[in-house]
């Protein structure tokens, strides 16, 4: 069992937890993820590590409530325990030789992008961060990004805060103005990463994308997280859990990944509704 040491509600639907897991904390590097189960018989869900605290032996996760499991996770309080917590999984984000980087985060993906930006900042790289949200209510980590970025641009889709538009707008402006980066790293919804990649491609700019497909074990066993890379030698199947989660954006078959991410869409929506009803009943009782 893994104890929740701190809980912080960042936004009505976005929560940060710090979980006691010293073995994971000791090893975790930016870009890696964990898998947790809230309760016995619960689902295994992957969540990217948003930071660690070596003294407390804790691992920070930030999640958006999107389904039954994240709903149940959000109902846990400080001092409560999670059934299972395993990691760190996946390969860390590649930082070597990158002196100037542009981090493009979208929504709760910014929680994953944040430790990556921090790491580059720590290594002395020049960090430009573009973070985008649907609206002001979903904005997270603005101050945190400001601290580790040489330049920060905040975007909202509806213009309810900062600049209106999606993250590709300022990226395109910068690249068009002749700005170059050793690497653009994008983390967020698949559709956003697809368009960030297309934007980078227009200018031949190198881009890394962070994939988070459906998976069960996270160790390469189930193959559920497979994706297709279009390599010069042909199509290659890779497992995001062990070969990723970071991939060369030019090679990823995004349309396939988007399709596969929706396998259980109906099932998940129903399960989420049922879980919400259970919590409502419990609260009303």
């Amino acid at each position: 069992m893994y104890k929740i040491i701190h809980k912080k509600v960042l936004r009505p639907t976005v929560t940060q937890l710090e979980i006691e897991a010293p073995l994971v904390a000791r090893k975790a590097k930016p870009g890696q993820f964990i898998i947790l189960r809230v309760d016995a018989d619960g689902e295994r869900i992957p969540l990217t590590i948003a930071g660690t605290n070596q003294e407390e032996g804790t691992v920070k996760i930030i999640f958006q409530i999107v389904g039954a499991t994240t709903e149940a996770l959000n109902h846990k309080e400080e001092g409560d325990y999670l059934q299972d917590f395993v990691g760190p999984l996946g390969r860390p984000t590649e930082t070597e030789g990158i002196k100037k980087v542009c981090i493009v985060g979208g929504g709760v993906g910014c929680a994953i992008a944040w430790p990556v930006a921090q790491e580059f900042h720590r290594l002395g790289a020049d960090v430009t961060s573009i973070i985008g949200f649907r609206n002001k209510d979903l904005l997270i980590l603005e101050d945190e990004f400001r601290e580790c970025s040489d330049k920060l641009i905040v975007m909202t889709d509806d213009g309810s805060y900062a600049r209106q538009g999606n993250v590709t707008v300022p990226l395109k402006e910068m690249l068009a103005a002749g700005e170059t980066f050793d690497m653009i790293i994008t983390i967020g919804p698949l559709i956003m990463m697809k368009f960030v990649t297309l934007t980078a491609k227009e200018f031949n700019a190198p881009i890394t994308v962070s994939m988070s497909p459906i998976m069960v074990d996270g160790t390469g066993m189930c193959g559920g997280c497979r994706l297709t890379l279009n390599k010069p030698e042909g199509k290659v199947m890779k497992f995001a859990c062990v070969d990723g989660p970071d991939f060369n954006g030019y090679e990823v078959d995004f349309d396939e990944a988007i399709s596969r991410s929706r396998i259980y869409f109906d099932y998940e929506r129903k399960a989420h509704e049922e879980t919400c009803n259970l919590f409502k009943q419990a609260e009303n009782a």
Partner: protein
């Protein structure tokens, strides 16, 4: 009295009933049937059956005890060499091992050794309450990587000798393939849990949620004071066919499908882990895993389940009993057929059609058997122009697995072969001092009993190594 030429049948659930539940298929012998079957053993001088068993169970010895109605005595004879008798009685391919060598089998059907092993193990488990006595500690610490059949066996043998044993398991439940792979209807999870609890009673410490190669490395285990390490991490990575369409929704690796159903309990009424149920399902492959996947699909509500296998019935590598059970339950065997493409739905007028990307069919080609290949089996060759489409909603790929590279890539100096299997000598020793390995991590996908055998060999070698230290 003349010898009954046939094995006594083991009572089992009616095929039409069991095809819709996850209860165990075979119900086991009664005392009467066990005694009758035991009398078929000739107690021959050569005892060829013992050599046919990967862990060399004294088979005539335990059957003699059954004849004397000393069932607990019979169990103890098995337990001398086998760590998981109730498991082996259920999942061993006896027809290619002990029973294949049975002298009676030359003329008649061999003795039902597996059925007798199962009977005495179940009787023992149902009756025995007392906990084993913990042996005195010998002060040595050993780490075991993986809690599947090889790891559990190695752990048990070492614990009995007084070693302080810690088993590290990557998943949240101990048992490895016995819990994530083999379904409830073939191996009830209560049996596995009982075996694991038995090890805990012996003092074995089982740490779940620790991935060696990620959470900790083999080198760190030594730094933590473990003096020897046994790697029994299994053959984790699923193979795909590399044909078009394998990324459509509804294509599963058998690993994923069975893990969702077994470990994640999607087979229960109120699971939290989704799985596609119903419709028509094609399972590709002919091994035990393929049979397990096909029969699981049936139980989850599929209206029709095919096994698509490129060779013929004779070459099917699955246990004979599983094939028989699958046929009885109505699994449709499409033999001498090979998939060449998986077809999916694609509405050209509406990219947002929710049906887009889901499996609609499997394109196959008929095969015929040609000359024998390297494995000695006749090689299947495609029949030109014989392509056809099986109308299915899901496809499960059960064509084998490869060893997981997580440990190899984080353990310097650990030699592996071309296929990624860890290289060992006859004692189970790897290229690294103090590091032993066995089971599928060495051989690639094989049987539970051969993994147990490897765990035993390594346990003996580790004991010798640390005793001499």
């Amino acid at each position: 009295m003349a010898i009954n030429p046939k094995k006594h049948e083991m009572p089992s659930q009616d095929p039409l009933v069991r095809a819709h539940n996850f209860d165990e298929v075979a119900l086991g012998y009664t005392e009467e049937l066990a005694l009758a079957e035991a009398t078929r053993c000739l107690n021959c001088k050569n005892q060829p059956c013992i050599a046919g068993c990967p862990v060399n169970v004294n088979i005539p010895g335990f059957i003699s005890k059954i004849k004397e109605k000393d069932f607990e005595g019979a169990y103890q004879v098995i337990a001398e060499t086998s760590s998981l008798p109730a498991v082996c009685g259920r999942v061993c391919p006896q027809e290619t091992q002990c029973e294949a060598k049975c002298t009676l089998g030359i003329k008649f059907e061999p003795v039902g050794i597996g059925r007798l092993e199962r009977y005495v193990s179940d009787l023992h488990n149902a009756k025995t309450e007392e906990k084993p006595v913990r042996p005195a500690s010998n002060g040595h610490k050993v780490a075991i990587v993986g809690s599947g059949p090889s790891g559990l066996t190695c752990a048990g043998d070492l614990a009995k000798k007084g070693y302080a044993v810690t088993v590290f398991e990557a998943l949240h439940t101990a048992g490895g393939v016995l819990v994530y792979g083999i379904p409830e209807f073939r191996l009830p999870k209560a049996i596995v849990a009982r075996e694991v609890d038995g090890l805990k009673d012996l003092g074995v410490d089982i740490q779940t949620n620790v991935i060696i190669g990620k959470t900790l490395t083999v080198d760190e285990l030594f730094e933590m004071g473990y003096e020897a390490v046994f790697i029994g991490s299994g053959a984790g990575l699923p193979n795909f066919m590399n044909i078009p369409g394998e990324s459509y929704k509804g294509v599963y690796s058998a690993n994923e499908y069975l893990t969702r159903s077994n470990l994640m309990k999607a087979y229960l009424d109120n699971p939290h882990t989704p799985i596609m149920k119903g419709g028509k399902v094609a399972v590709v492959g002919g091994g035990n895993v393929a049979m397990d996947a096909a029969r699981t699909a049936l139980r989850l509500g599929a209206e029709h389940v095919y096994i698509v296998y490129r060779r013929s019935m004779e070459e099917l590598p699955a246990r004979a009993e599983e094939v028989e059970h699958a046929i009885e339950e109505g699994i449709d065997f499409k033999l001498l057929n090979n998939p060449i493409e998986i077809l999916g739905y694609n509405n050209p007028d509406d990219p947002r059609d929710p049906k887009n990307g889901f499996v609609t069919g499997m394109k196959c080609i008929r095969m015929e058997l040609g000359e024998p290949d390297a494995s000695g089996r006749r090689r299947p060759v495609p029949v030109e122009g014989s392509e056809f489409v099986l109308d299915v909603d899901a496809a499960i790929i059960a064509i084998g697995t490869s060893p997981n590279p997580l440990i190899k890539s984080t353990t310097e100096g650990l030699e592996v072969n071309r296929k990624g299997g860890i290289v060992i000598n006859e004692d189970g020793l790897t290229s690294r001092e103090g590091v032993y390995a066995g089971g599928d991590a060495v051989t690639g996908a094989a049987t539970v009993i051969s993994a147990m055998g490897a765990g035993k060999v390594a346990a003996a070698a580790i004991d010798e190594y640390l005793s001499a230290k």
